[in-house]
């Protein structure tokens, strides 16, 4: 009813939000493409990503002289098909993005909510932990953790979650502090709701948009951290192709075959950009002031 009677301030931001949407849809489309590639990898990859063929080493991508049909993006120094490795690499990238970011999100948001809502010693402990965590250079911290946990997919995911929960805890704590001082929380308390019920039923839904936006951002971060760990040779074993591993290879043979670096770089670039634009887009969409 209110919306129908108040055309001015309500329709204008909505139109603006819609015009801003292309980046949201473009990002979602790219991520969907990557997800499809990951799921359908065995059916769409033109070659086995691990098959080495020294007769076909360092073939340039199609369109350059010396290219071989059937090897769209060329081959690396061991004669492995770059496109197939990219497609299979999407599997690990997306697994890490989904699992690690969700784990960091769950742990960080829970601690942030508790710290922001209950305050007192809970808040002091969480805030102190966040301070200590922030005093570590994150890349060094993740390398250290993987060295401790041992290499492998689980360690990489664990390391990312252990480091990046602070991103959620900080923001969610601040947002919860603001929300729990709002009138609706007071009225719920007067209405006799328990503290936990208020936290879950009243505060959480209002903090959720922030969490979702952060989650999308964090997925991009997780993809990068996995690539960095693969780059320093601490991630997954070399049997499974990863984008970071391809980058390490491309960096090493950069003067002989630049495309081995360029191909995973472009894909990483677009994926990270898509995740962050998705996060920004979601934030704008959920923001009640823009609705």
């Amino acid at each position: 009813m209110a919306e129908a009677t108040l055309p001015g301030p309500h329709t204008q931001p909505r139109a603006r939000a819609r015009r801003r949407n292309p980046r949201l849809w473009l990002s979602a489309a790219w991520l969907l493409l990557v997800a499809l590639a990951a799921i359908l990898a065995p059916f769409i990859a033109p070659h086995d990503p691990l098959t080495q063929d020294l007769l076909l080493e360092r073939l340039p991508p199609l369109g350059l002289s010396g290219a071989e049909p059937g090897y769209l993006l060329g081959t690396d120094s061991l004669g492995r098909d770059v496109l197939s490795r990219l497609i299979y690499g999407a599997r690990i990238a997306l697994t890490v993005a989904l699992v690690a970011a969700s784990a960091a999100c769950l742990a960080g948001s829970a601690l942030g909510l508790l710290a922001g809502y209950f305050g007192g010693w809970v808040d002091r402990i969480v805030s102190r932990l966040v301070d200590v965590w922030m005093a570590f250079p994150p890349v060094l911290f993740s390398i250290l953790l993987v060295a401790v946990l041992g290499t492998g997919l689980t360690s990489v995911i664990l390391a990312i979650a252990i480091i990046d929960w602070t991103r959620f805890a900080r923001v969610v704590r601040a947002e919860t502090l603001v929300q729990s001082r709002m009138d609706y929380v007071h009225s719920a308390r007067i209405g006799g709701a328990s503290r936990l019920a208020i936290l879950a039923g009243e505060v959480l839904p209002n903090v959720l948009p922030t969490i979702v936006a952060l989650l999308a951002l964090e997925m991009g971060v997780a993809v990068i951290v996995e690539a960095i760990l693969s780059f320093v040779n601490l991630s997954i074993s070399s049997d499974s192709p990863t984008w970071g591993g391809m980058i390490a290879e491309g960096r090493a043979s950069i003067h002989f075959s630049w495309w081995v670096l360029a191909a995973p770089l472009v894909v990483l670039f677009l994926t990270v950009l898509a995740f962050s634009q998705l996060g920004e887009g979601l934030k704008a969409r959920f923001d009640p002031l823009l609705r």
Binding site: A135, F136, L140, L144, I247, I254
Partner: protein, 323 residues
């Protein structure tokens, strides 16, 4: 603050000592007896309990003794002090680029506010902000290392040059000695890593400063300056910038610590001989004392920077000044 440092020390200490892989076994030649291993373990104090080890280590650290590196067999403090200047120079150059680039785009965007160029600045900021230093570094390597090879993609300085330096602050000293040939060579090595570190920070500075400028430019004194015949650029640079810069400054502090954290991987990427590059080797070699020393150096640096920003803020903000 001190609590944070102690916290960091404890976390690293526990982490690297529960790590699998025995650094002592790695030091000895194959075929060493159990007795040899036990003797060396005792020599490094690794046979004591975790708590005892920490107390001994902390006691020594307070006196400036961070132990000896297991793989490089030199005092950790010497190794860290040897590499720290390289990392500091790189970080400061990156900060300089970020402030210059971010400031320039902010002023330009504020002057063109509401018009197409401002949207261009926003788009540029949006993209540079989303992409982390690691990817910028790789992109720059492709662009200026391979496609148009004008810059060096690895190292800090060309190995064939003879260096007259007395300290490890190569760039700083080369400028003081007016050795422009060396300055050029150093910059040709440092520009790409510095730029990759600088780009995301530049975007943050640009966004925040532009917003601040736009707000300040609506105020009476900006209008008055315009009435007095100042051009828009003059209004911004002479009047608005000083007032809009203050909130940006606090943010630069935190962001600068993130930038320094980024040197770890960027130095690795460009084979730049700094602290971060050494840290990665230390982790791979399980060099416990060295890891501990480097991580604490970074943590101390972060804390110092935050302190300096707080001080600068108090000095620059007239409302916080005493009589």
């Amino acid at each position: 603050m001190v609590l944070t440092l102690i916290g960091v020390a404890i976390v690293v200490f526990v982490l690297i000592r529960v790590a699998p892989g025995n650094p002592i076994a790695m030091m000895l030649p194959p075929g060493a007896t159990q007795a040899d291993i036990a003797q060396l373990t005792a020599m490094y104090g690794l046979d004591k309990s975790l708590f005892q080890q920490f107390v001994i280590w902390a006691g020594n650290a307070l006196q400036g003794d961070f132990g000896n590196s297991i793989t490089l067999r030199q005092p950790v403090s010497d190794l860290v002090l040897d590499r720290l200047p390289a990392t500091l120079e790189l970080s400061l150059l990156a900060l300089l680029i970020a402030v210059a680039l971010g400031g320039a785009t902010a002023v330009f965007g504020a002057r063109e506010r509401g018009r197409a160029p401002e949207a261009g600045v926003d788009l540029f900021n949006g993209v540079t902000l989303s992409i982390p230093d690691f990817l910028w570094g790789l992109l720059l390597i492709l662009l200026f290392g391979v496609l148009w090879p004008v810059l060096h993609i690895s190292g800090r300085v060309s190995p064939n040059l003879s260096l007259p330096f007395a300290t490890q602050f190569y760039l700083f000293e080369a400028i003081l000695r007016l050795r422009w040939d060396l300055v050029t060579d150093l910059l040709a090595h440092m520009l790409m890593p510095a730029l990759s570190l600088a780009l995301p920070l530049a975007a943050i500075i640009s966004q925040l400063l532009k917003q601040g400028l736009k707000e300040v430019l609506e105020l009476d004194y900006a209008v008055l300056a315009r009435v007095r015949g100042f051009t828009e650029t003059q209004v911004i640079t002479r009047e608005a910038l000083r007032n809009a810069a203050l909130p940006t400054l606090t943010l630069i502090g935190v962001q600068f610590t993130f930038l320094i954290g980024g040197t770890v991987i960027v130095e690795r990427l460009f084979a730049y001989e700094g602290l971060g590059n050494m840290a990665i080797d230390a982790v791979i070699n399980r060099d416990l004392p060295l890891i501990q020393g480097i991580v604490l150096t970074f943590a101390g640096l972060f804390i110092l920077i935050n302190l300096a920003v707080d001080l600068a803020y108090t000095l620059l903000n007239p409302r916080l000044r005493h009589g």
